[in-house]
């Protein structure tokens, strides 16, 4: 699974992009985010408040209960502030 981090999620985790292989019991967005907290203190801090994080799966906005699969591109970012 390819993960992308943007804005302060990139600064806090310290990575812009990483490939991960979550265990088979990680099947939803929410399960993925909670599992990602265990990747290190930066990830734990960045993912402390899940309400502050938006997720896109394969470039489409996704909700907590939406499925994630090993072949997905999953992006984590704060609410957008362009325009």
């Amino acid at each position: 699974m390819k993960l992308l981090y943007f804005a302060w999620l990139k600064s806090k985790t310290g990575v812009a992009e990483e490939d991960v292989t979550p265990p088979p019991e990680v099947t939803t967005v929410a399960e993925l985010l909670i599992w990602l907290r265990g990747r290190g203190p930066g990830h734990a801090e960045a993912l402390a408040d899940l309400d502050a994080i938006k997720v896109a799966v394969n470039q489409e906005y996704a909700q907590a209960g939406d499925p994630v699969r090993p072949s997905d591109e999953v992006a984590l970012f704060p609410p957008v502030t362009g325009g």
Binding site: L4, F6, A7, W8, S11, A56, Q59, Y61, A75, F77, P78, P79, V80, T81, G82, G83
Partner: protein
Amino acid sequence: MIRVQEADFDLGAELAKLTAGNNKIGGLAVFVGLVRDRAGDKAIGAMTLEHYPGMTEKMLARIEAEANQRWPLDASLIIHRVGRLEPGEQIVLVAAASAHRQAAFDACQFLIDWLKTKAPFWKLEETGAGAKWVDARDSDTQATERWRAPKKDMAE
């Protein structure tokens, strides 16, 4: 048409191109977002716009398609810049042209409201106290909410 680019854009040239050769257009509504030199009580030295390449273009194209579905537009345009920008620089251009002015206005406002809450861009502001990611505004979410129900085109 949509474009994401680092380079500045020539507002006059873009708008001239947009309406050229289509004499059904009666009104062109345009919004340009510019970098301000202040955010609240902090002076802004510059800002950097980050985005999610691929998803950005996809969302902008979808926003534009939605506007064209809701209003009878003859032309529409979204240009959004990325990278480092200084105060006074242009960040974004949205424009909508239609036979009637109310459709052009509504579509233009819809484009920027939706863009502000759906297109994956993030602003990093440089102030005297260091660089800080801009927080999303509740008012932007509210501005988008008003477009939830398809809005009837007001006849002009």
